[in-house]
């Protein structure tokens, strides 16, 4: 009975293996889009809508971060890279950038905080550790807990280049690895301050207006609200026929509509 048993197992494994290996027929074209987790949800939406009308194309959208997007596009692992920050000149090498939209970065505090407005200077000093108590900026006597994103996050580097000048975010700031976890930490801690992307804003936290300008689609579009960053697609060399098709679809009215729905400001 044992050898029969074994025979059946071997045959079963062979069938499964054969299925796995033969199945990847050339019945679809694969586009790999890799990079920034901030851009990812938008591209997932775009891909979903695009592929529903192009059944011969499958788009795999993966996060990982802007750096991963830059690296893997250069290595040729990804057809399209996603970045939520401006590229440095060394990073730019060999890559073509296509800006698909821009997004605001919102300074958020807990709903229990009575602060409504901060100047860029105040935000800078809070994040670099010069201001450590809310009473110094007109709030209650409460210690400030600074929450930031990890090194290399597109949101963080955009925030740093706009707000921090040549100072640095203080070392004791809590590091959270996503916009949503920053938001959760801010929501549950009355003394916290953090920055989150505009598209992720909801009632859990309170947005602070910066130099009197509150973040909204209008103020981001006309650049009155200065805290914003671009959403960029990266391509190495000439895009494949299918990637090109996807890219031009994104710039079409149908694509723009979806970008708008995700609270991103489309860029022509």
């Amino acid at each position: 009975m044992n050898s029969e048993f074994k025979g059946i197992i071997v045959i079963a494994i062979c069938i499964i293996l054969a299925y796995l290996f033969i199945n990847p027929g050339a019945s679809y074209e694969r586009i790999d889009v890799v990079g920034s987790t901030s851009v990812q949800p938008l591209v997932e939406k775009l891909a979903e809508n695009f592929t529903s009308s192009h059944e011969d194309i499958r788009i795999y959208v993966q996060g990982g971060g802007s750096g991963m997007g830059i690296r893997s596009t250069k290595q040729g692992l990804a057809n399209i890279g996603m970045s939520s920050k401006e590229l440095s000149s060394t990073e730019k090498k060999n890559l073509t950038e296509i800006t698909i939209g821009k997004e605001g970065i919102v300074i958020a505090v807990s709903n229990q905080n009575n602060i409504k407005d901060l100047s860029i200077e105040q935000i800078k000093n809070i994040f670099n550790g010069k201001i450590t108590n809310w009473k110094e900026v007109g709030g209650n006597d409460k210690e400030i807990h600074v929450i930031t994103r990890e090194e290399g996050s597109g949101t963080r580097s955009a925030f740093e280049s706009i707000v921090m000048d040549d100072t640095k975010i203080k070392d004791s700031a809590i590091v959270q690895s996503s916009t949503e976890s920053v938001k959760q930490s801010v929501a549950s801690d009355p003394g916290a301050i953090g920055f989150v992307s505009f598209a992720h804003m909801n009632d859990d936290v309170k947005p602070i207006s910066v130099d009197g300008v509150s973040p909204s689609e209008k103020t981001i579009t006309n650049e009155e609200y200065v805290l914003q960053r671009p959403f960029i697609f990266l391509i190495k060399g000439e895009p494949s026929k299918f990637a090109k098709e996807f890219l031009s679809w994104i710039k079409s009215p149908a694509g723009t509509e979806i970008i708008k729905k995700e609270k991103i400001i489309p860029v022509k």
């Binding site: 987790t37 996060g63 990982g64 971060g65 802007s66 750096g67 991963m68 830059i70 690296r71 060394t90 990073e91 807990h145 929450i147 990890e150 090194e151 290399g152 996050s153 580097s157 740093e160 640095k168 070392d171 004791s172 700031a173 809590i174 590091v175 959270q176 690895s177 930490s185 549950s188 801690d189 916290a192």
Partner: protein, 292 residues
């Protein structure tokens, strides 16, 4: 017959390959990690990398010392909590508990070791972090919170292996001790525990390895601040967390520096493994299943 001998020969040779396969893989791992990590050492300087206090990839600073300390602190803190509990539990299971209770505890410990680390991390994030925040202030993301979860994660390792080594103490020892009129506890304390000590130390070292290598639970609850913590309620970043956290963003030398971090981690694990092997060799401990 000739044909038979040839196929026997071929089979034996291919089995040799499977036997040394793990060694081949280890060499490959070492090779690739070194290859990717080496540029960081070359450009930044090995000792500057190892003992540098400043980790700021955007400014080209790659010192991992604070994270080495972070990893060690978190691990030691979790061992301080895990060792007493797991040793008591191991002695209880090996020497004291009746069979019926043993039969409950054994699957409990197996299940504890089977729970995915990301589930532990999730539990810590959702349950422990808020509790620590309300009771001890700060943000709740701290070395202590992480150590609590790691404690639970190393429990099964220490319990299983030290229990094995307690069981391996020859039965005559116990009988001799009882014969002298000693109580069960006296026997455990003066006879069995000392005899099993090398195995118990091995179990603690292996538990240590598991705690140092743990990644996701540490990321989710330790706060990930690159600093040498002043108190146990300060947030820290471990070596493992550093890799997983920044890999997605790293380009250029930063990418190499993360592989460099992995080399440091690998070295620590190898050192622990060598110590464990030395103890096993010296005291002829046979801890069936003694893996990190």
């Amino acid at each position: 017959m000739e044909k038979n001998r040839l196929s026997e020969f071929l089979i034996e040779k291919s089995l040799v390959i499977t036997a040394i396969f793990s060694i081949i893989i280890i060499l490959l791992i070492v090779l690739f990690i070194l290859m990717e990590g080496f540029p960081a050492f070359e450009d930044y300087g090995f000792f500057r990398f190892l003992f540098g206090m400043n980790w700021a990839p955007s400014d080209g600073e790659f010192g991992v010392f604070a994270m080495i300390i972070g990893s060690i602190y978190v691990t030691l803190l979790s061992l301080i909590m895990a060792v007493p509990l797991s040793l008591l539990c191991a002695i209880f299971m090996a020497e004291v508990a009746p069979n019926s209770i043993r039969r409950i505890l054994k699957p409990v410990i197996e299940t504890l070791s089977g729970i995915p680390s990301v589930v532990y991390g999730f539990f810590g994030l959702i349950v422990l972090v808020p509790i620590i925040r309300t009771n001890f202030g700060g943000t709740g993301f701290s070395m202590f919170t992480a150590a609590l979860i790691l404690t639970v994660m190393v429990l099964p390792t220490i319990i299983t292996i030290s229990q094995d080594s307690l069981r391996a103490v020859p039965h005559e020892y116990r009988e001799a001790s009882f014969g002298l009129g000693a109580t069960n506890w006296q026997t455990i304390r003066h006879v069995i525990f000392p005899a099993a000590l090398p195995g118990i130390i091995t179990s603690i070292i292996l538990g240590m390895g598991r705690a140092i290598g743990e990644t996701l639970a540490a990321i989710m609850i330790a706060g990930n601040v690159v600093q040498i913590p002043g108190s146990i309620f300060d947030p820290v970043r471990t070596l493992t967390a550093n890799i997983a956290l920044e890999m997605g963003y790293a380009t250029g030398l930063h990418y190499n520096a993360l592989f460099g971090t992995a080399i440091v981690l690998f070295l620590i694990i190898i050192i622990l493994l060598l110590i464990a092997n030395y103890i096993q060799h010296k005291y002829k401990v046979d801890v069936g299943g003694g893996y990190l």
